[in-house]
């Protein structure tokens, strides 16, 4: 199948609703933890090695044919924050709609039936990649990249950060993104053989806690 489908899936303009979410950057900016391109890069690095690794492994495991319901439950256990779980399901639902338009498949139809309120976004991403004929590494790259591109774009808006600086931060993270994608695929293969307990559970306490703080604000620019 066409490898270029990855470009369609990973495109920031793909109509899956990601632009409405900051990946925790809005809370971190308000708390004074992201103030510059350097602290944005550090935030993205931490998110990449925690939420990004987990999302990459979930997506890769879905491509490998691990039961989506089991992956969704594994995602729940690895996402304690109810605000983040709700956001992941909303994003999953929107992505599924776009994916079914792009790569119609019985598996995507079945997922929509099983999860009317949406499955966790990385699980949907993996099944979308699978429907598009992509491999587990493609899905892992896509999920890992999204874990940093979202906060970078959001911070440009939140801090009026120079977009060139934000792009520089993302470019410097590329070698680590390679390693995270490799680790994610390796873990996904183990999960396919041994069960979802083998998936990574890397977590960022401030991402989870910050998401709950953020969800309680009366006014915010981003949904999460």
């Amino acid at each position: 199948m066409a490898r270029a489908a990855l470009l369609v899936l990973a495109d920031g303009r793909f109509p899956a609703g990601g632009h409405a979410h900051s990946g925790g950057a809005e809370a971190a900016v308000k708390a004074g933890r992201i103030t510059s391109a350097a602290s944005l890069e550090d935030f993205c690095r931490g998110r990449l090695h925690t939420a990004g690794l987990v999302a990459g492994a979930l997506a890769a495991a879905a491509v490998l044919g691990v039961d989506p319901a089991e992956l969704d439950a594994a995602a729940d256990a690895r996402t304690p924050s109810p605000a983040l779980r709700a956001a992941a399901r909303r994003l999953g639902r929107q992505l599924l709609r776009a994916a079914r338009a792009g790569w119609p498949s019985p598996e995507l139809d079945a997922l929509a039936r099983e999860f009317p309120k949406g499955a966790h976004q990385p699980v949907v991403l993996g099944l979308a990649a699978r429907a598009a004929g992509l491999g587990p590494d493609d899905a892992a790259y896509c999920a890992a990249y999204e874990s940093v591109s979202g906060p970078a774009t959001a911070t440009v808006r939140l801090l009026s950060l120079d977009p060139f600086d934000a792009t520089g931060a993302l470019a410097r993270l590329a070698p680590e993104l390679d390693r995270v994608a490799d680790r994610a695929v390796e873990a996904a293969r183990r999960a396919a053989a041994e069960g979802t307990d083998a998936l990574p559970a890397a977590s960022g306490p401030l991402l989870e806690v910050g998401a709950q703080w953020h969800a309680a604000w009366p006014v915010r620019l981003f949904a999460s």
Binding site: R33, D42, P80, P82, D197, A201, S203, P205, L207
Partner: protein, 257 residues
């Protein structure tokens, strides 16, 4: 204890708690092992109390510790520790391991409330805590990590906490910190310079029907209902004292189980 080997100490401690049939809890198994010394202390009503007493410092690099506690149907057990656990560098470059396994049956209750784990400079420890609960089991579990002694750089610490209820994983979280941990661990997404991090988990069957509402406790702590009959308090703080205060305050409404 299999003894002290060239690569470190191996110690496996074991506790079994059973209802004694007279409204109390018996401890048919209370096996200390080397540095993991267990002492039974005065019971608190129907709840048996066990204190983990560090008989020597550790875990050091290369050590392999495990502690298993099984609480059978109807039994109530509280496990605490006399002092903080200090992870220190060892003679070998190998990582140390500390695996805690907690099994709680229907109608049984476990309080696992050890003191802090302190990751001293140059240490390398991997901790896993796995709680396996039946559908009708109750649990209060606290874990706190302090990264470095006062003013000290931390060692490397990887800690995974898994809580399963009725065969379903409700919480699975791993935190890696210190030199050699994946990048960004001390950055704004993970710890942001905080040197104390903790989790408190309460599992009760009644949460399935009466879920607890989420409550942010400022920007550094939150009370969180999990996807299952459980709540989590997750917190980061500048030091151990302030972390304990945050966790104690958050747990106050659930005391008197």
């Amino acid at each position: 204890m299999d003894g002290v080997t060239a690569t470190g100490v191996r110690a496996d401690a074991r506790i079994v708690a059973r209802a004694d049939g007279r409204g109390g809890t018996a401890l048919p198994v209370l096996d200390s092992d080397g540095p993991l010394a267990l002492r039974r202390t005065r019971a608190d009503g129907a709840r048996a109390k066990v204190m983990l007493v560090g008989a020597m410092s550790g875990p050091l690099g290369g050590d392999r510790f495990s502690l298993t506690a099984s609480v059978a149907e109807g039994a109530r057990l509280h496990i605490g520790s006399a002092a903080a656990t200090l992870a220190l560098p060892g003679q070998t470059k190998d990582e140390a391991r500390y695996d805690v396994r907690l099994d709680v049956a229907d109608g049984a209750e476990l309080h696992w409330l050890p003191e802090q784990l302190i990751s001293a400079r140059g240490s390398d420890l991997k901790v896993t805590t796995r709680a396996e609960l039946a559908a009708g089991a109750r649990l209060v579990l606290r874990e706190e990590q302090v990264l470095g002694r006062a003013g000290e750089e931390p060692g490397r610490l990887t800690s995974r906490l898994t809580v399963r209820v009725a065969g379903r994983t409700v919480l699975d979280q791993e935190l890696a910190s210190g030199p050699g941990a994946p990048g960004g661990w001390d950055g704004p997404a993970v710890l942001a310079g905080h040197r104390a991090v903790g989790q408190l988990v309460v599992v009760r069957p009644e949460f399935a029907e009466h879920p607890v509402e989420a409550r942010p406790l400022g920007e550094c702590a939150a009370l969180i209902p999990l996807a299952g009959p459980a709540v989590l308090v997750s917190a980061v703080a500048p030091d151990a004292l302030r972390l304990r205060r945050l966790l104690d305050e958050a747990i106050a409404p659930f005391n008197g189980t």
